[in-house]
Amino acid sequence: MKPPLLRKIGGYVFAVVFIFAGWWITAVLVNSPALPTPADAVEVLVANADQLVPYFFTSAYRVIVSLVIGTVLAVPIAHVCARSRTLDTLFAPVLYLLYPIPKVVLLPILLVLFGLADAPKIVLISLTVFFQVLVAVRDAVRAIPESAVVAIRSLGGSRFDEYRHVAVPATMPAVFTSLRIGVGTAIAVLFIAEAMAGSTGLGYYIMQSWSMVNYPRMFAGIIAMALLGVVLYALFDIVERRLTRWR
């Protein structure tokens, strides 16, 4: 176990050093107050930590709730759609047309319908996540070889057993892959939604600092938002590895 783990940690250390070095060089070259050096950024992050924390948790809450809602809705629908020819012929074109539409354009409508607080953001991000997970899981269900299903049937397994012991394990990796990809999109959508409406969350914090020309404060917000993405991504990675240990 040890050598690969050490190598992995070494890899991350190298990555952090690499990113910070690139950032530092760019900051020196650009020489603009909008792009502080890493040292300055860490300093403002520490200095602004107190007031940042509630914004961070507001944003984290919105993303996490949305990821959960989107996934919980998408997974069963994906399984049903992939298994039922009738439903699939009915809904596949709908899905095909709706999936590529950037859900973020619906933001103005959602703001009118749901106000300025958590609801429109959660609805918007849930929608985004929903379609990503739906498409990935539906394809994964379809990729299950017929022979796998036949094998469990030959053992006397019920329909439920087919789901529980074949379909669910087979699609678990797809759920997590789409979630990990989805985190990036989800946070991007969150940023736009928070920046445009309301007075809470990191998106608001960043754009408010920008309009006040308080660049260090703005940058602290940007780092916080980046951290949110990294933490969620790593979290899914860990959970996936725990749940799909056999791979």
Binding site: S147, A151, S154, P169, W246, R247
Partner: protein, 246 residues
Amino acid sequence: MGESDIMVSIQHLSKSFGETEVLRDVNIDVKRGEVVVVLGPSGSGKSTMLRCINLLEKPTGGHIYIEGEEITGPNTDVDKLREHVGMVFQQFNLFPHLSAKKNVMLAQRKVLKRSNEEAERIALEQLARVGLADRADFLPDALSGGQQQRVAIARALAMDPHVMLFDEATSALDPELVRGVLDVMRSLAEAGMTMVVVTHEMGFAREVADRVIFMEEGVIVEEGSPSEVFDNPKNDRTKDFLGHIK
């Protein structure tokens, strides 16, 4: 020969997929303890015939009886039937997230409602029987194809089947792994298991089969003891097929 000596009786079985007729008037009686090997070119309907025996395919016509009970009637309890009919496929299809032992335990627990202890005991017995006692805690990915197929056989055996169906069980295996699987099948036959085996392994058919059936285009073309079919085939198509294989 009494009724009870017939394990599987296939009478006038036919099967069509839409317009395509895959099986036509197939008649086979398999006696208890008999090993019947079914040969034939791909597309001859032998796999479909096998799948009809546990209703993975629904026959279009004819009757199938297992231990005297008709399974092609309207009131067949399919799950009950499948408990007594074990099947091994070309693709092993183990549960990739479960160890070899857990693979063998799962259906025992869920379908036969055996206790965890009993299922585990039987799983270890069956894994030992296929020569994999020391691989009980391995995940399928860590096993060779031949070992995975032997786990699949153990998984089917753990359900106490009265008859075992083998659908090209060695066709997906590398040549050097085929032997271990055939050895397990041979020892099963020697232990008196009733078996219907679809295979391309002529050596196995010759040595182990009590009876060989040659199918082509959905009908039984020739049938007899291995020496009759292999050394003295009457039908030109059989001769042709055996000539190609050798």
